[in-house]
């Protein structure tokens, strides 16, 4: 029989007023729930505001009148949502290589002949003022037509004639120019020209940094040129004009041509998710989020939520126990169990909702303030977007956490023994005897699932296991406390009293222990993951040179006069003017010779002998699950040898080095002497031992291909004596001896200067290094340069670890404090009796201390165990995330930090409880409402 809404209202009223009356506890819960909500709301607001909202996005993409913007993205079909490309699906059979005319015809075939197309042609360009220079994308498009609306300047005007340009605010800042000033502009392959800046682009408009009218600089592109090389330069885009909207069906059809489409009609009225083919037959090459990563995130978030619930829980348990008389009274006047349960549950909802709403309001305020007041410029936010739906979700989440935390106390509360509560007898709802058993079972299943899931890289399993494990640990904690009560028989009076009391009052202690478990488990898991991740970083840390070695690299590109030898000499000299080098050597890398080095790229790799190759690589088909599983345990399948690419315009030191031994010797890693001698003797250096064939040779493949991916690569093989080095830096993947390339018959390769390496007699001071870096930049500007000093391995986790430990200790202490505070209030009578029979204040302090110690100690030990397991599972899941298990992910246990939590937290809790007891006792004589 339903009693309608009236009982709800009555119970809600009590819950609301209770929340207002017990301010301390309410505030504590509110802060615990509210802070994460606040942080999350600020983050969503900032995230959402960092990209243009729908209205702004539409204006920046298609302006006021055009129908759509088409951008050529890849030579095959792409997959997109309404705003951006999700990936390019390289289906070999469908790779297209159209010309400009062909793609425009294809577009018209999709959109109809009435659709007008306005094209933007782009190039990379060098912009110069008298004292500065910068590289940027340059585009020409008819800005006087409909497309002008897209590039509406925020300052100044649109260009009115050839020789006038719009520039981005980023470029304006970089060059230090404003509206009305002049620039030198040189696009790839074109002569330099003076242009005048007429206006500044919106900082969030997509496209080149410099825009001008057609005919300013670029010749009209012939309609029969291949699209791919054009697109590789800066990109080719079109705007669709006319009156017919571009529909989602059009978008999908255009995607097939490799075009990304931003349509006014589609942005205004997005298609249902089901209409978006986010996955096609081809392989999704980029952008797709891996399900495994999603699961790992789910595990962390799930465990975090569970922790939040466990940590907030005791505050409600305490509240419910404190108001047990009130609950009994409600029962005496006809409230049934449902009403009692609701009272406690609503208490949680009221506090959770209140805290979440306040936090959300504050968060929106803080986010809005940040978005509005952050300085305008490159880092500014385009607009303020308040994502109400997501914020509502976060409010619901906060409320949900509080409600979930109140759920168990609520169920306990409704079983209150009314008569006992009213007569002042301590009414302890009988603990479920099944709970610890269920807990143990959960613990077992959880651990098994987590570990096996982690080992077999089945994140879903691991995640479920992790959560079960935590729940199981919490459920078992009560039994452990009871056990403590049993062994108390042999303890001295104060301790015995405290342990007995702790065990008897499980309704009070269990939630506190659970909270300590949660806090400590979270912290320990975090510590394990951080330490292991640090270890992983250290294992994958591959120095390419001895500590302190100086690298000076020059990066000329197609816009620069390429007298590399001169550049390198000037750079080296400029450096030495500031910081003399003890030894130095010129670095040379191998590259494609003329005529057109800009568009050709070279790759070199060492082929392993067949027996050293991973079987999966040799398959001419998709590997089966079983084969993939076998491969995971096969050492041959571990990622080893590197492919080294060399493009003269993108050289760092990750390129194919050619060396007579001096560079390697100067780099000075262990065994550099032997390596240098081997190079001098005509051997090639490799760092993949498996690449060395039985006869001591290395089989190198040289591959030259078009940068834009069109055309077939041209390959040739070369067999040279090999020398394996231990250095794992990719620089050492292949180092060629002098003259080796001359033996290639079909490829025309030459070494070019790329920089200087050197050593100094003593470590460089920071400002000396800065001065030297500046000197190099000045000496060869506008050519880009990079100066680096090989630095020692540093761990980046110290501060994070400290924060994790601190948070765990604070949360753990808070939980213990709640429980011990309540214990003090409840055992007041017992303590008074103790005092009456002659126990000293010291005894009372000892009792309080022992209670705190029992709670904190139990929680800390169980929490640490759970946390070590959790952390290990996370590390193992991470290890198995790639195709094959990554052996550099190893479980490393941070014993020192874990010990500091395990010992420190209970010690602090005991100390605090003992210190506070003396001043607490008289206070606690005032009722316990």
């Amino acid at each position: 029989m339903s009693r309608g809404a009236a009982p709800w209202r009555a119970v809600l009223r009590i819950a609301r007023r209770d929340a207002a009356r017990s301010r301390g506890r309410t505030a504590l819960i509110a802060v615990m729930v509210g802070l994460p909500v606040l942080a999350a709301v600020v983050i969503v607001v900032l995230l959402r505001s960092s990209t243009p909202g729908d209205a702004l996005f539409t204006r920046l993409m298609v302006g006021e009148v055009t129908q759509a913007r088409l951008s050529y993205h890849c030579p095959a079909a792409i997959v997109q949502d309404v705003r951006q490309s999700v990936g390019c699906s390289y289906d070999e059979s469908r790779v297209q290589d159209p010309t400009l005319a062909e793609i425009e015809d294809d577009v018209r075939a999709v959109l109809g002949d009435d659709a007008g197309l306005v094209r933007l042609d782009g190039r990379r360009a060098l912009l110069t003022t008298t004292d500065r220079s910068s590289r940027a994308g340059y585009g020409e498009v008819d800005l006087l037509g409909p497309v002008g609306g897209v590039f509406e300047p925020v300052v100044g005007d649109l260009p009115a004639r050839a020789g006038e340009v719009l520039i981005s605010s980023w470029l304006a800042e970089d060059l230090g120019v404003g509206v009305g000033e002049e620039l030198g502009l040189r696009a790839v392959g074109e002569p330099e020209q003076r242009v005048r800046v007429t206006g500044m682009l919106h900082p969030f408009v997509e496209g080149p940094d410099v825009l001008a009218l057609p005919g300013t600089l670029l010749p009209t592109a012939a309609q029969d040129v291949d699209l791919a090389p054009l697109a590789a330069q800066w990109g080719v885009e079109w705007w669709v004009t006319g009156t017919d909207p571009v529909t989602w069906d059009h978008v999908v059809a255009l995607n097939d041509l490799g075009l990304l489409v931003r349509s006014r009609a589609v942005l205004a009225d997005p298609p249902p998710r089901s209409a978006m083919p986010l996955h096609t037959d081809g392989e999704l090459v980029q952008g797709g989020t891996s399900a495994r990563t999603a699961l790992l995130v789910a595990a962390v978030v799930g465990a975090g939520l569970l922790e939040a619930v466990l940590i907030v829980g005791p505050a409600f348990a305490v509240g419910a126990r404190r108001s047990s008389r009130e609950l009994a009274l409600l029962a005496a006047h006809g409230g049934d169990r449902r009403d009692l349960r609701r009272l406690v549950l609503w208490n949680g909802v009221v506090i959770g909702l209140g805290a979440s709403v306040v936090a959300a309001v504050l968060g929106v305020g803080a986010g809005a303030a940040l978005v509005t007041w952050l300085p305008v410029g490159a880092g500014a936010f385009p607009n303020l977007v308040v994502p109400w739906l997501e914020i509502l979700g976060l409010i619901a989440l906060g409320t949900g956490i509080a409600a979930a935390a109140a759920w168990l106390p609520a169920h306990r509360a409704c079983r209150v023994d009314v008569v006992a509560a009213l007569s002042g007898r301590r009414a302890e709802a009988a603990p479920h005897h099944g709970v610890p058993v269920v807990g143990l079972v959960l613990l077992g299943i959880g651990t098994a699932a987590a570990v096996s899931g982690a080992l077999r890289a089945q994140s879903g399993f691991a995640v479920a296991g992790v959560l079960l494990l935590l729940v199981g640990m919490v459920a078992t904690s009560g039994a452990v406390v009871t056990l403590l009560g049993r062994v108390a028989r042999w303890a001295p009076t104060a301790l015995r009293f405290a342990l007995r009391d702790t065990a008897r009052q499980r309704g009070r202690t269990a939630p506190a222990v659970a909270a300590v478990i949660a806090a400590v488990a979270g912290a320990t898991a975090g510590l394990v993951f951080l330490t292991s991740s640090d270890h992983h970083d250290r294992l994958t840390w591959a120095p390419i040179a001895a500590e302190g070695t100086v690298h000076i690299a020059v990066h000329p590109d197609e816009l620069d006069d390429v007298d590399r030898a001169g550049l390198v000499a000037r750079a080296g000299a400029a450096f030495e003017d500031v910081a003399p080098l003890a030894t130095s050597a010129v670095v040379r890398i191998l590259t494609v010779a003329e005529p057109d080095p800009a568009s050709m790229s070279l790759s070199v790799w060492a082929e392993r002998p067949v027996e050293a190759m991973c079987p999966v690589w040799l398959l001419e088909r998709q590997a089966t699950q079983q084969e993939l599983a076998d491969a995971q345990d096969d050492p041959r399948c571990e990622p080893g040898g590197s492919v080294l690419s060399s493009n003269p315009y993108s050289v760092g030191f990750g390129s194919v080095l050619v060396d007579d031994g001096t560079v390697v010797r100067t780099l000075g890693l262990p065994e550099a002497g032997e390596a240098a001698a081997a190079l001098a003797g005509g051997a090639v250096l490799v760092n993949d031992a498996a690449a060395l064939w039985a006869d001591g040779t290395v089989h190198l493949t040289f591959s030259v291909y078009d940068m834009d991916g069109s055309g077939d690569p041209h390959e040739e093989e070369l067999v040279l004596p090999g020398h394996v080095v231990g250095a794992r830096g990719s620089l050492y993947g292949v180092v060629l001896p002098m003259g080796a390339w001359e033996r290639l018959e079909t490829l025309d390769l030459v070494p070019v200067e790329a920089g200087v390496v050197g050593t100094t007699t003593e470590p460089l001071a920071r400002d000396t290094l800065e001065a030297a870096t500046q000197a190099v930049a000045d000496a060869i500007g506008p050519v880009a340069s990079g100066v680096e000093v090989e630095s020692p391995w540093v761990t980046g986790q110290d501060v994070t670890m400290l924060v994790v430990v601190a948070v765990a200790v604070v949360l753990g202490l808070a939980a213990t404090w709640i429980a011990v505070g309540l214990a003090a209030a409840e055992s007041r009578a017992d303590l008074a009796t103790l005092a009456a029979v002659g126990a000293s204040p010291r005894t009372r302090r000892t009792v309080a201390g022992a209670q705190a110690g029992a709670i904190a100690g139990t929680g800390v030990v169980l929490g640490a165990v759970a946390g070590l397991l959790l952390g290990a599972v996370f590390v193992l899941v991470r290890r198995g995330q790639g195709f094959s298990a990554d052996p550099t992910w190893q479980v490393v246990l941070p014993w020192a930090e874990v010990a500091s939590v395990v010992i420190g937290l209970p010690a602090l809790a005991v100390g605090a409880a003992m210190l506070l007891t003396r001043s607490r006792l008289p206070l606690s004589l005032r009722g316990s409402a």
Partner: protein, 244 residues
């Protein structure tokens, strides 16, 4: 004294034992008791004699080990937890020595609580509550919170709540225990008046002075009814004679 109405509460052969084996405590043994409309029955006896147990069983908060309790024509033993809660909402009200009122609710809200729990919506429940408060003479205190009321006023609110709406039976466990004697008399006067106005009451007290307000007194010792007096005449007259 007016003529008595129908039987509202009937306990027949009620026994209540706690624990078992050597630790067995017989809180009540074969107790028979009837309370009629218009009747106020006092229960007296030494500490531990089973007075509170009797009251708790009468209201369905506790269940007898054997015997039957019928309340307003319903057999308590045949009812589940929910139905008993319903009975408490509609038919019986408790008044305890202290901790009587929910501190988070005003006087009126405390009184209307059983009605709202029963599904009466806020406004009519408040009307009933105000009427009940007026009956006990403190209508003007309706919107005060318990900690803004004196002990006597709090007990009046409790009595109002015990008899709000359709409720006709008050079970009062030492309602005067925490009050000074003058205030205690005050509370008894209100209780008496409300019973005379058509309710029934079962009152546990240690003091004969307060028992004197009852129509009859039942004496308990070790869980057994050992004596029972008839109705007393004109208590007010006796009071004025009393020099103390």
């Amino acid at each position: 004294m007016t003529t008595l109405g129908p039987v509202l509460l009937r306990l027949a052969q009620v026994t209540r034992t706690h624990g078992h084996g050597e630790l067995t405590v017989h809180a009540l043994r074969s107790v028979d008791l009837e309370v009629r409309v218009g009747e106020l029955v006092a229960v007296m006896g030494p500490s531990g004699s089973g007075k509170s147990t009797l009251l708790n069983i009468a209201g369905g908060l506790d269940s007898p080990t054997s015997g039957t309790v019928s309340l307003a024509d319903a057999q308590l033993s045949g009812l589940d937890l929910k139905a008993r809660a319903r009975l408490r909402r509609r038919s019986v009200g408790y008044v305890f020595q202290d901790f009587n009122l929910i501190p988070a609710l005003t006087a009126a809200e405390n009184v209307s609580l059983p009605r709202e729990l029963d599904g009466v919506s806020t406004r009519p429940a408040r009307v009933e509550a105000l009427a009940a408060l007026a009956d006990v003479g403190i209508a003007e205190l309706a919107d005060r919170f318990p900690d803004e009321l004196s002990g006597g006023q709090q007990q009046r609110v409790a009595i109002a709540r015990a008899l709000v709406g359709p409720r006709r039976l008050v079970l009062a466990d030492e309602p005067t225990g925490a009050l000074d004697s003058v205030t205690g008399e005050d509370v008894m006067r209100v209780l008496r008046a409300r019973v005379d106005a058509g309710a029934a009451g079962l009152l546990v007290t240690h003091e004969a002075r307060f028992a004197a307000w009852a129509d009859r007194t039942v004496f308990l010792r070790d869980g057994v009814v050992v004596d029972s007096t008839g109705p007393r005449p004109d208590v007010e007259a006796l009071l004025t004679l009393d020099p103390a």
